[in-house]
């Protein structure tokens, strides 16, 4: 028989255990998330030279955003291009590719591994391989020459008109891997009995995809859409590796990195940029946070099937 004091001691030990387990991760969150965010807000309202509270950074941000050749204006425009590409092209393609792999198209095991390669291989290597592939001396130019076309001698990444589109093409080329796996995982959970019954009723593959599989994997589709929208202002390609922001290719994510990284000789040497970076980050967060909350609410309202 356990008496009251023993039970109380047991409870105390448990509380000690629980907080002992959580203490360090919680402290890490307080330092690396909470205090860092507060510090970032403070930086946004601080003058880089005088260290006094100011709204000057916001004026500067507005100038960068609205002037015809403003850095942030170009960065925002490109970021939205990357976001749209993710949303309209990469996500649907990933879902379609996942469906055919799930339906065990010939060679699906090999395709699955090869299509996942871009997620495994370092961007540094992927970008170099792609740059050679689409460069003036590359295979694509060789094929284009056969049909009378050619890639400009200076390459696609050295021209304002082609650089961003070439990087966008790279993101499509490499972007399907992880989402494809997520969609495939969800499709694998669809009960075979449902698909079998539909097939016996004469259901075509198209109907099977649109009327059975897509509604049943709606939670995963919602997850992918939410993740894509969460990253609306951080959508980007590997700009640092392709152009280092030249030829109007900069994005918000790259602009932030470049401003903090500075000349790149040693990390984070550009301290005078910290304030404008934090200010821009705060403005985009204030726009992005309600947007993503709204989208999440909308997604939660969608009916989902239990199986």
């Amino acid at each position: 028989m356990v008496n009251k004091s023993q039970a109380s001691q047991f409870k105390k030990k448990q509380i000690l255990f629980v907080w002992g387990m959580i203490a360090l991760p919680l402290l890490q969150w307080i330092i690396c998330w909470f205090i860092v965010n507060l510090s970032s807000i403070k930086l946004a309202f601080t003058d880089a030279r005088t260290n006094q509270l100011t709204s000057r950074n916001f004026n500067l941000f507005w100038e960068y955003l609205t002037s015809p050749y403003g850095e942030i204006k170009i960065a925002l425009s490109n970021t939205l291009k990357y976001f749209s590409t993710n949303f309209i092209i990469i996500n649907p393609i990933s879902c379609i590719v996942a469906y055919f792999l799930y339906k065990k198209i010939a060679g699906y095991k090999i395709f699955r591994v090869v299509f996942y390669l871009p997620a495994i291989v370092s961007s540094v290597a992927m970008v170099e391989a792609y740059r050679q592939f689409v460069g003036p001396g590359g295979l694509i130019n060789g094929i284009l020459n056969i049909f009378g076309g050619s890639i400009p001698p200076e390459g696609l990444f050295a021209r304002n008109e082609t650089a961003t589109n070439a990087i966008l093409a790279y993101t499509v080329w490499t972007g399907c891997s992880v989402n494809m796996l997520l969609f495939m995982g969800a499709m694998t959970r669809v009960p075979l009995e449902v698909l079998e019954a539909a097939k016996l009723d004469g259901c075509t593959s198209f109907k099977e995809l649109t009327s059975i599989i897509l509604p049943l994997i709606l939670p995963t589709i919602c997850t992918v859409i939410t993740i894509t929208c969460t990253n609306v202002f951080s959508a980007s390609g590997p700009i640092l590796l392709f152009t280092r922001g030249a030829c109007n290719t900069t994005t918000i994510a790259y602009w932030i990195f470049a401003k903090v990284y500075g000349d790149g000789v040693s990390g984070g040497t550009a301290k005078s940029n910290y304030n404008i970076v934090s200010c821009a980050g705060l403005c985009f967060t204030l726009v992005g946070a309600p947007l993503i909350m709204g989208i999440r609410r909308l997604m939660e309202k969608l009916p989902t099937a239990e199986y």
């Binding site: 255990f17 510090s39 198209i105 592939f133 040693s266």
Partner: protein, 302 residues
């Protein structure tokens, strides 16, 4: 029974067979497009410096080398270097070592910390439990942008900037994606094992380390592998926060920056790139089934 179901499901009409044929051809082309650049990269890694430049001028970069120069691989190991902030050279084998310890510390700390928070939140009722769960979900879904500068200041203030302690410090986050997956996993584990241990006089730590954690090994392994691949390939974090410890990814980026002054060095650089891919491809080949099998709705099996 399952086999029979699958046979019925995968039975295709003529029209569907044509569609699958077209899709198959597209998949083959896409797969080739993914593999061809790497073959070209390997070809260029085996060329002599002059041959590489000549091929580039003649728009024949994808041509195989006349005589494969395997010594480029040895050269990349012995001569390829990146300069750190104090002007010291870091060679490729050192970059490889940096990649290993940085990735293992960062990922290990992250997965372990998440297992601690996820376990107590899913198995214990205590004051603040809902708040902690809310923090985890909130900080994951709110798109906070532009805190890089504040983070850099914080790391300098704490004194871990550009030190080997950094991966543990920034990695020991108990929340995020790992937390959500592990919370789902631990919630589904039976508590009766724990009760038996308590009856035998064991404590909460015994239950966690000897009963619960061993059962979570497959899930932890998958999370570890996925994070390992991402962290191994991450170059921006190291460029920003650990400039004196270039990894394979960040170091090769620094090497590439200096190559514009010496185009003859490209084949050696490509050899270094190929070497940098080998460990991660090897790990993926060994554990690909584990990674693929554990992906389901919203991420991993919980």
């Amino acid at each position: 029974m399952k086999k029979k179901d699958e046979n019925i499901i995968n039975r295709r009409s003529l029209q569907e067979k044509i569609i699958f044929g077209i899709v198959f051809a597209s998949f083959v082309l896409y797969a080739l497009s993914l593999l061809a650049p790497f073959i070209s990269l390997i070809f260029n890694s085996l060329k002599d410096g002059m041959e590489y430049i000549d091929h580039a001028k003649l728009k024949q970069s994808f041509y195989p080398p006349k005589t494969p120069l395997f010594s480029n691989y040895w050269d990349s190991l012995t001569t390829m270097k990146a300069m750190n902030s104090v002007g010291e050279y870091v060679y490729l084998p050192m970059m490889f070592l940096n990649s290993i310890w940085y990735t293992c510390l960062f990922v290990g700390a992250g997965v372990f910390a998440s297992s601690l928070t996820a376990y107590v939140v899913s198995k214990y009722k205590f004051k603040g439990r809902t708040v902690i769960d809310g923090i985890a979900v909130f900080s994951m879904t709110i798109p906070v942008i532009g805190t890089t500068a504040a983070m850099l200041k914080m790391l300098n203030f704490v004194g871990v900037y550009n030190t080997p302690l950094l991966p543990i410090f920034i990695g020991f986050g108990g929340f995020g994606f790992n937390y959500l997956v592990l919370r789902g996993f631990f919630s589904n584990l039976s508590w009766s094992y724990a009760e038996s241990v308590f009856v035998d006089g064991g404590g909460d730590l015994t239950v966690f380390f000897k009963i619960m954690l061993p059962q979570a090994v497959p899930c932890l392994l998958t999370l570890f592998l996925m994070a390992f691949i991402t962290t191994w390939n991450d170059y921006q974090t190291l460029l920003l926060y650990m400039p004196d410890y270039p990894s394979l990814s960040s170091g090769l980026y620094l090497v590439e920056r200096s190559l514009t002054r010496d185009p003859l060095g490209y084949p050696t650089y490509y050899a270094g790139l190929v070497i940098s891919i080998i460990p991660i491809i090897t790990i993926f080949s060994i554990f690909s089934d584990t990674i693929m099998a554990n992906f389901t709705v919203g991420g991993l099996k919980g």
